[in-house]
Amino acid sequence: MDEELIVLKAIYLDDLIISNDKETFIHIKIYSNGDENDFDHDKRLLYVTLIAELSSYYPETESPKITLCQSRGLKDEQLNELNSLISSCLELNSGSCVLYECIELIRSKLSSYELPHEACAICLTSIDNRNDIIKTNCHHFYHKNCLASYAKLKKVELEEKFQELINNKFFIEKDFRNDIEDPVCRQILSSTIIEQLLSSSSMKIINENHENEELIRNLSPTIREWQEKMNALFQQQKEKGGIIDLDKNQEIIFT
């Protein structure tokens, strides 16, 4: 066992922590491969921490007890898959040194999960290209373009609000002009992220008519049925005077 640990330490260097209490523990944070030349852990999207408890009977008669914890970017099914991979690996290799095997098994699987599983919360489509991803300081993933167009719009809104307060001579407690929130958790985005977003090439949101037509053509018969039902209800409420008459009310307001 000692020999195996020496070899592991030589391979993983500081990533691997060995502690000796009553039992021996090894502790290693496994990152997905990411770009081959990219050693910056912060840019890696996924990781999981592996803890192995080695009794004095390892490896001859007892397998290590392996737990996975503190993961990032993984969904439960993926964690389950990793756990079952580990159990079958342990079973297959019982009686021999298995730690390197397990660590590399997880690393290769993680790399296959490389892209975050959640769809971008802004456009609701999956994030398929690594280069399109932006990860916020609060660990949420978006298409860079999606988050950028939100940030730009929000920035304009905040600037306007700020200017309005100044014009009306309001006391401003704190400059909020850069308080752009993460769409999912509302934590304020870091200045580095905001800078990155605001400087990215701009993108227009245009709505083209032919797209509209296409959308309508795709409506299913069920939707049409519902539409008719709603129209009927509308008529019914209108007859009873239950529908707000905007034109009439405008007059009330303005005269």
Binding site: C146, P183, M203, I206, S220, Q237, G241, I253
Partner: protein, 154 residues
């Protein structure tokens, strides 16, 4: 695909999901002429003065959606401190608290929740709010009466 396409696609996805997995008590149907316009019926929540009512709501997705919030308005009359005579709704997520991670369904759920829990301290209609604070029982009776009168199906 360009980003514009992706964002339009979001609207298609939302429309489809609203139909496939409807929110209980809420029917939302895209308009036959405009995919950015939704006709909605929100059932009055049980144990609220709006119970039994079917409230028509119109929802419009502006060009900036989902970066900017949808525009939502009640079409059916109702007596509520956070909804004015024109059916406009006072709800933070429809204004400064909007986030592009919110969706049509979350907005409609929030509106339904607003029917269950009126907030007369952050009112839109001053008269209704005043009544609500001074005489909650009486205000609720009016709300029930309006529901009965304007929002019942038959």
């Amino acid at each position: 695909m360009n980003e514009n396409g992706a964002l339009t696609k979001r609207i298609v996805k939302e429309s489809a999901r609203l139909q496939q997995e409807p929110v209980p008590g809420i029917d939302a149907i895209v308009d036959e002429h405009n995919p950015r316009y939704f006709k909605v019926i929100i059932d009055g929540p049980s144990e609220s003065p709006y119970e039994g009512g079917k409230f028509k709501v119109e929802l419009f997705l502006p060009d900036e959606y989902p970066m900017a919030p949808p525009k939502v308005r009640f079409m059916t009359k109702l007596y509520h401190p956070n909804i004015d005579k024109l059916g406009r709704i006072c709800l933070d997520i429809l204004k400064e608290k909007w986030s592009p991670a919110l969706q049509i369904r979350t907005v409609l759920l929030s509106i339904q929740a607003l029917l269950s829990a009126p907030n007369p301290d952050d009112f839109l209609d001053a008269d209704v709010a005043e009544k609500w604070k001074a005489d909650e029982k009486g205000a609720k009776a009016i709300a029930r009466d309006w529901t009965q009168r304007y929002a019942h199906e038959t």
